[in-house]
């Protein structure tokens, strides 16, 4: 019996070839095992169980037709072939569309059914698939997906690699790297599931399940790969439907379903690999030799069984002698000044991916380019639910994203209506554009919502954070819509007063609130919150001397990860806070403020934080004996999240506040940039661009810069271009162009991966929407002489 085994890489993220060889050697001591590899740098070629080696050139050098012919000869000659490389398996499926009795890999039709992230074939299995979205969607939608899932998301390649992306700039960097590496834009973002990693591994021959085990990871590498595990019988409720799936797919070969079990016991499928896992010898140790069971079924030759099985296995590091006929290759020269030797993928796996893409063997269907798929939403019977709903549209609507790939982001009609009021071609750029009707509608809605949420016992009020954008037009709109003005300095207090606010409508907050001296209003302000114990002492002294007068005095509680507010992260800190509250005068009402940007931590996390802070407030109230009458909740809401969050959710939040703090009479909500961000846009002009020989525009220079868009690193902006012929505004799609700012600074890139519209010309105006919050208020003068 001669068996060819490929996938011998044996580093920290190993391929299964060695484990398969060890398993087959245990079952068939006399078999002739041939190791197949594509680089003499893969240490697995030196493993003792291989009787022969068939070392190929790396995939970028291989003549695929000749290699296919060689494999056919091998198979026709009676040898078996077990592949441990996903891409090789896909290629073999194209080489042998009708299969081959000695080729122990799955057919192309089965591979399509298990391609991630949808894994269609798993529908009848007792598991669900974490929610995902294709990166062919617009950046606006991808950012929304990340926020909705609290930035607990993984960016995954179509075949290998997954990187946790914690922030927008990290996502952008990883997307570029993975797209380049795997020659495709078809990546996907998938939500993280917290839990324990488990696998079901099976082998099959011509649709017949020959063996199946269940493995729990017990030790993991830093990359999350199995280092130790226990192997047991797979539960019958899993095996029964699996057997049916295997039959329907006419599966041949090994396979692994990689899953996570969450705390509630639900299994989530991460992916289905069309091959044995690298830990396959662990199954053999446990007494279930899956490769042997498959070979036994394919050949009819009985396999020898293990006699002293052990359910638990672990890995160790071993040094083995190098085969004299394959001496170690030299290390590549490090790049000057670089660390390491840049030796990833010595077998040329990336080149194989590129070649298979060009041959249309992979990447056409089912490799991450499917519709968004919501499966974490509790729809009882399975995981292939309707398209993920992504909130878009700056407070105008909740839009279900259409299935078209590379779709442009949707833009609220009010943006267009406001932009049409400007004569942009005559305008000097870069220029800020106030979107008046958009701003009016946002403030109006917020005011109406506060009224709607107000009950007989609790008054709900909005607060406008002046620092978000101190533009007088916005401050006036806030005033007219019944907002309070939240200031972080006495200069901001004065600005509010000059714009029409009365002192009793002003909230004073933040660590530098007393700056500059001498500008405190002489009459009582609405509320003031201390940011530290020292600040509280100063506040108490000011109140005692009547320098400061306020209807509500209180404290800002520090949220996890924040530098602002009074910490409660130790019992001592809580005790200090409780004691300090004693200093506050009893003739003012007592209030608590807390703040965390929902755009940074995600919507779900924000609501958890809200519940958490209510518990802290209850503790503070109970321990200090001071009834909390005012709750001031800050924000940093991304506009789409705040405006599309249902009023039911806010109503429940008010009820919850009342439940935890029965004395609360006022809830102040600070929607932050939810008001300001959509209210302004930035117009800039195309200064120059040039198409490459292939007609692609890789770079275009604009007269705007990161000095006007400092938030570029934190959020995408929807970019509009008006067709001069039709006068129609169109949002830029994803593409290959980088928009370079005018500054002579390396990092001045205001947009990456956009597509300049056909017909765009030098001098055309591009409008960057969603720039009315910190882009506007934190923009700086740079490079203007």
């Amino acid at each position: 019996m001669k068996i060819y085994i490929s996938g011998l890489y044996s580093g920290t993220n190993p391929q299964p070839g060695i484990g398969v060889a060890r398993s087959l050697r245990a079952a068939y001591p006399e078999a002739n095992l041939v190791g197949v590899e594509y680089s003499n740098r893969c240490s697995g070629i030196h493993w003792q169980d291989f009787d022969e080696l068939w070392l190929q050139r790396p995939w970028e050098e291989l003549n695929l037709d000749a290699y296919a012919e060689g494999i056919k000869e091998v198979l026709d000659g009676g040898a078996l072939w077990i592949s441990g490389v996903d891409l090789e398996i896909m290629w073999l499926a194209s080489v042998f569309p009708e299969g081959h009795k000695n080729l122990l890999t799955p057919p192309a039709s089965a591979l399509r059914q298990i391609s991630k992230p949808a894994v269609e074939a798993s529908q009848s299995l007792p598991l669900r698939i974490p929610t995902y979205i294709s990166t062919e969607r617009s950046d606006w939608e991808l950012h929304a997906f990340c926020r909705q899932h609290g930035w607990k998301v993984w960016l995954k390649g179509p075949y290998y690699e997954a990187v946790r992306t914690y922030s927008w700039d990290m996502f952008e960097r990883v997307r570029t790297a993975l797209s380049r590496a795997w020659s495709t834009e078809k990546l996907f973002l998938q939500t993280h599931v917290t839990g324990y990693e488990e696998s079901v591994c099976f082998s099959a021959y011509k649709g017949e399940l020959t063996g199946c085990v269940y493995m729990r990871k017990r030790e993991l590498t830093e990359e999350g790969k199995t280092w130790a595990g226990d192997v047991t019988e797979a539960p019958e409720e899993f095996v029964a439907p699996l057997r049916k799936v295997v039959r329907e797919l006419n599966w041949t070969g090994g396979a692994e379903l990689e899953m996570v079990r969450d705390t509630g016991g639900q299994l989530w499928l991460l992916e289905c690999n069309p091959r044995f896992p690298a830990w396959i010898y662990g199954s053999t140790i446990a007494g279930r030799n899956l490769p042997a069971l498959m070979v036994e079924r394919a050949t009819g030759v009985p396999a020898k069984t293990a006699e002293t099985p052990c359910e638990e296995f672990t890995r160790i590091v071993l040094e083995v002698p190098v085969r004299p006929q394959f001496p170690l290759p030299s290390l590549p020269e490090p790049f000057p000044g670089a660390i390491g030797h840049s030796m990833k993928h010595p077998s040329g796996t990336l080149a194989l991916a590129e070649r298979l893409h060009k041959l249309h063997i992979i990447g056409e269907d089912g490799n991450g380019n499917g519709n968004s798929n919501g499966n974490g939403n509790g729809n009882g019977n399975g995981h292939h639910a309707s398209a993920e709903t992504v909130k878009t549209g700056a407070g105008v609507a909740t839009v279900t994203v259409a299935a078209a790939p590379n779709a442009a982001p949707s833009v609220p009609p009010s943006f267009i209506a406001d932009l049409d009021t400007y004569a942009l071609q005559e305008m000097e750029t870069p220029a800020w554009l106030f979107l008046e009707s958009t701003a009016e509608s946002l403030f109006k809605r917020a005011g109406e919502l506060a009224t709607q949420l107000t009950t007989s016992t609790v008054k709900v009020t909005n607060g406008y954070s002046i620092k978000t954008n101190p533009d007088e037009r916005l401050i006036k709109l806030a005033k007219e819509s019944g907002f309070l003005a939240e200031a972080i300095s006495l200069l901001e207090v004065q600005k509010a007063l000059k714009t029409g606010f009365k002192p009793e409508q002003v909230i004073l907050n933040g660590p530098g609130k007393w700056w500059p001296e001498g500008l405190l209003p002489s009459s009582p302000i609405h509320a003031v919150f201390s940011d530290s114990i020292a600040d509280l002492r100063r506040m108490a002294a000011s109140l005692a001397s009547k320098e400061l007068q306020a209807k509500i005095v209180g404290v800002r509680l520090r949220t996890p990860g924040s530098r602002f507010g009074i910490p409660v992260d130790t019992p001592d800190a809580l005790r200090a806070l409780v004691e300090a509250i004693e200093l506050l005068p009893r003739d003012s009402a007592f209030g608590v403020h807390f703040h965390m940007a929902s755009s940074n931590i995600g919507v779900r996390q924000w609501w958890h934080l809200y519940e958490s802070m209510l518990r802290w407030c209850r503790s503070v109230e109970s321990l200090s004996g001071r009834r909390i009458e005012c709750l001031d909740v800050g924000g940093g809401w991304f506009p789409d999240d705040w405006h599309t969050e249902s009023s039911d959710q806010f109503a429940a939040a008010v009820q919850s506040a009342r439940k935890f703090l029965p004395g609360v009479k006022e809830v102040i909500s600070e929607p932050g940039k939810a008001m300001a961000q959509p209210s302004m846009a930035l117009a800039m002009r195309l200064l120059e661009f040039e198409a490459t020989g292939e007609g692609e525009i890789n770079e275009a220079v604009v007269d705007g810069s990161i000095a006007e868009l400092p938030m570029h690193f934190f959020q995408p902006h929807r970019i509009l271009h008006r067709d001069e012929r039709t006068q129609e505004w169109r949002a830029l799609r994803r593409g290959k162009t980088q928009l370079l700012g005018r500054l002579c600074m390396e990092h001045d890139i205001v947009a990456t991966n956009v597509e300049l519209p056909k017909g765009a010309q030098v001098g055309d105006v591009l409008v960057f929407c969603d720039a009315g919050a910190y882009d506007r208020s934190m923009s700086y003068v740079f490079g203007r002489g």
Binding site: G150, D230, V239, R243, D262, G287, N289, P309, P571, E611
Partner: protein, 237 residues
Amino acid sequence: MSLAEDKLIEVNEADFVDTGAAIEKWRHFPYSAILHHGRLCCRIAREWIFSHDYTQLNGEHPLTGPRWIRQKWTWGPSSWPISWCEAVERKTLDCGALAAISQEVYTARGVTNYPAQFIQQYSEDSVLHWQKKWNGEEVSTHWINEDLIYHEGCAVVTRDAEIKLWDASAGWWVNPKQFGGYGGLLALRISAPQSVSGAFEWGTHRIAPNQWQKIERARNDFAHPSANAHSRAAAHD
């Protein structure tokens, strides 16, 4: 394994362990409880623990093990009795205190749970080290009996009678599939009110409440010599 009459025979090491004597030693040993002074000092401590726990839960499932407890406190000798205000000030707490805190935390989360007492097997080297450490702190070593130790945790009800065992000192769930050996759980007692009549289900074990119960060693799923030939997968084809 040991040799007898020139034949290699399988011996379960746990068979040599006198679990019965250990149970006898700790038969009347109560689970740990932390004192409350009835004053603000202990109220602050408890409020802090509960609010902090909710924050640390980070929106995850209420059954999630409170790993933060083991991050805040090192496992080690603590003198008893101990009050809540003292416990939060300490840097080191023993298994009884850590278990008691985790029980209170689960209760605050609304999760039904019960005190769990363990008898575990370690090695003579380990217990010698622990003995010296506890003696150095002038704290009782009543929890050590040769190579067996008394330990505490928290039985968390996941569904109906189903439980999981949270080892607050280790920050992990005890594996219900027990093979004995180093760290193996030999006996378990779950203290529940009289109103809890039926047995708890812990993996494949059925645990009667309020009595020490030896934990049966697990058999390997594929231990049968003909496991391959009679695999579940094949048997149903």
